[in-house]
Symmetry: C2
Subunit: 250 residues, 2 copies
DNA sequence: TTAATAGTGTCTTTCAGACAATATTAT
DNA sequence: ATAATATTGTCTGAAAGACACTATTAA
């Protein structure tokens, strides 16, 4: 590769041009359902199709900040603003098959974001074209975004097992039941309330008590729950494993 | 991003040129030690420094095949050849900070490879410049490769916990002790022989018996061990967890 | 009052890890 | 013979999951 490197040093245009973009699989929970942020494409290719939000990486920008910028643009939140700082953002993986974009070679670095429930982008005056869609209602997406979304969902589901990131879907203070609802929405299955409660409190650093109590009980009755905030653990030990599915193993 | 997309469609050169490369963190076990494949750079920048093997992604090539090609070139193995097909290759993450290469914007997709013990590249006639170095003897690397290597090692250590990929470091048939030596080398700590043995055999699909027995016992005595091959599991259930380090958690 | 929810208690099973024991083989 | 290694057995404690129970609150 030495020759190629030499060439590239002095003549970047000796290589076929490549565009580098970021795409974001942004997830949130609305009405107890896991939702992803999508945009509707205006132009060809895939005009009228839904796609993941994304765009080109700018000149002096890191990949991470490009992803955060795209997310901020589409959710109409300003960087530095409260809600955006709570968002968890991590790199997912990179997609670069030739032909994934018919126009030119596009290498896309995909990111995964967990956001607390945000105001609907369309509600504001300068409405963006993005919207939250429950993941089980998302059909085919533009480009290879169907696969990107699937990879993001896989990652999200397993992240909830061994990290405390479920709290990133909630506001700063939350009840154990709200936390359980996050797991139920992401994993698509209900968890036993009593066992979940005991488990969460037993994992060191997962949550810490605020001492306060929720203003009111549940929707249809029940005592007022205690409030917690995220703890200082970066990993859950022991992990909170999903019920094993045999089919995932082989 | 609609306008930008439009521009890019018709004028790729409107954007600052970006090079896309792959870098490979290739790991193997030699003499019981975890080693990484490195090359020595001939030219500036970082002339004389060691670096991860890598190079530019070619025009009609997927990212995966670029990584496999780079690995084949540096290890002097031909694609389609036995040993290379056994290599496990997965995408690690992508590094794209502006300034990580002083010449131009370079976005590098890093890969992680697990290889069985291969013949030394320098032994052959058309010796390549690559060599295996024990990971605990690797100092500073060129570019941001020190961080890339560290990320690769982290990933490798955790992959061994919940996947059967330790077998990718071994030849097709192996003993439980050899498998244990892989874990010891990658995790940097010895495991209890008896408990490890029982654990491996108890995880469904981790290994399957060949019925055969090793030709001879251990180096310094002991019975002839039974031979196993990799099973059909893609994930280990239950996982084979490292002894918990408190410092990793918070 | 009724039903739902928060939180706790108990029991069983699984599993990790400590430790012991036995058999087999290289030197 | 000696020491190392392969393999199996046993025990303890941690933890997951099933289930039951009590107390509290919205409607």
């Amino acid at each position: 590769m030495t020759d190629e490197e030499f060439l590239a040093t002095y003549d970047p245009h000796a290589y076929a041009p490549v565009a580098v973009t970021v795409d974001v699989v942004a997830l949130t929970i609305r009405d107890g359902r896991l939702c992803a942020l999508l945009v509707e494409r205006g132009e060809s290719p895939y005009a009228g199709w839904r796609a993941l939000p994304g765009g080109f990486v700018r000149e002096a920008e890191t990949l991470d900040s490009a992803a955060l910028r795209e997310l901020a643009e589409e959710t109409a939140l300003r960087p530095g603003e409260d809600a955006l700082d709570q968002v968890h953002l991590e790199q997912l993986r990179t997609y670069g098959d030739p032909g994934r974009d018919p126009r030119m070679r596009v290498v896309s670095v995909a990111y995964l974001a967990f956001a607390p429930s945000l105001p609907d982008p369309r509600a504001g005056g300068d409405a963006s074209s993005a919207f939250w869609v429950p993941v089980d209602e998302i059909g085919e997406l533009a480009f290879d975004h169907t696969a990107v979304l699937a990879d993001g969902l896989d990652r999200a589901r397993s992240k909830l097992e061994y990290t405390p990131l479920a709290t990133a879907f909630l506001s700063a203070e939350f009840t154990i039941s709200e936390l359980r609802a996050v797991y139920a929405a992401v994993w698509g299955e209900d968890l036993h309330a009593g066992n979940f409660h005991r488990k969460v409190l037993s994992v060191p650093g997962f949550v810490e008590s605020t001492g306060a109590t929720a203003a009111r009980g549940g929707e249809r009755g029940g005592p007022k729950a205690r409030l917690y905030r995220a703890g200082d653990a970066r990993l859950l030990h022991p992990a909170l494993l999903r019920p094993t599915r045999e089919e995932d193993v082989r």
